[in-house]
């Protein structure tokens, strides 16, 4: 069965520091992978996605993620965070087959210290 694990419920980093949010997935083949961001009181916005090809994916707002098949991971990174990056981040596994489900991780809340 598909599953997504985000091991960190909360992460706190200082403004200007680098960031890595972890995501591990379970799927029988190469899944479609996504990272979304949710600011307080808002809907989810897509940061980036991986379907195939280059395993390092660039997204919006300076984010990138790397797909590592051997580790079943799709970690999100940013070299230097800004206070406006404080939000909830969700990793998701998309559907490859019709009967698959889009599964979201439980989210990681990012706090930024001034």
């Amino acid at each position: 069965a598909q599953s997504v694990t985000q091991p960190d419920i909360h992460i706190t980093v200082s403004e200007g520091a680098s960031l890595e949010l972890r995501c591990n997935y379970s799927y029988g083949a190469t899944p479609y992978l996504f990272w979304y961001v949710q600011s307080p009181g808002q809907g989810l916005q897509l940061l980036l996605k991986y379907f195939s090809g280059d395993t390092l994916v660039q997204g919006i707002k300076g984010f990138e993620a790397e797909f590592k098949r051997s580790q079943s991971s799709f970690n999100l990174r940013k070299p230097s965070v800004h206070w406006s990056d404080a939000a909830e981040y969700f990793c998701a596994v998309g559907r490859v087959n019709r009967d698959d489900k889009i599964i979201f991780g439980k989210g990681t809340r990012l706090h930024i210290l001034p």
Partner: protein, 112 residues
């Protein structure tokens, strides 16, 4: 132009009432979804429709009934509301069910 729009944004109602949440997308997508986000921010899919056909129907009480009059609309009707139904409900759409989903702003439902 809002891509996925939900109404209302806030909904406060009493237990036992029946309410509906409307969703419309102007992206020309074939697939639409309803998600429930609980107080711990956990997102769970409830339903998925593709071209008005129900594709995914998770274990959701049958008090929840989605209705898709056309592929641009997916409404959610909830009967006999209970306290536990309080949550944020998100509508989303995607091109073909395999690609990324675009989310509405959410409807915060509070049952009192």
């Amino acid at each position: 132009d809002t891509a996925v729009s939900q109404t209302p944004k806030y909904l406060v109602t009493q237990m036992g009432n029946d309410k509906s949440i409307k969703c419309e997308q102007n992206l020309g997508h074939d697939t639409m979804y309803w998600y429930k986000q609980d107080s711990k921010k956990f997102l769970k899919i409830m339903f998925s429709y593709n071209n008005k056909e129900l594709i995914i129907n998770e274990t959701v009480p049958n008090r929840f009934s989605p209705k898709s009059p056309d592929k641009a609309h997916l409404n959610l009707h909830i009967n006999s509301l209970e306290l536990g139904d309080s949550a944020v409900y998100f509508c989303a759409s995607s091109q073909d069910g395999n690609t990324e989903a675009f989310f509405g702003q959410g409807t915060r439902l509070t049952v009192v």
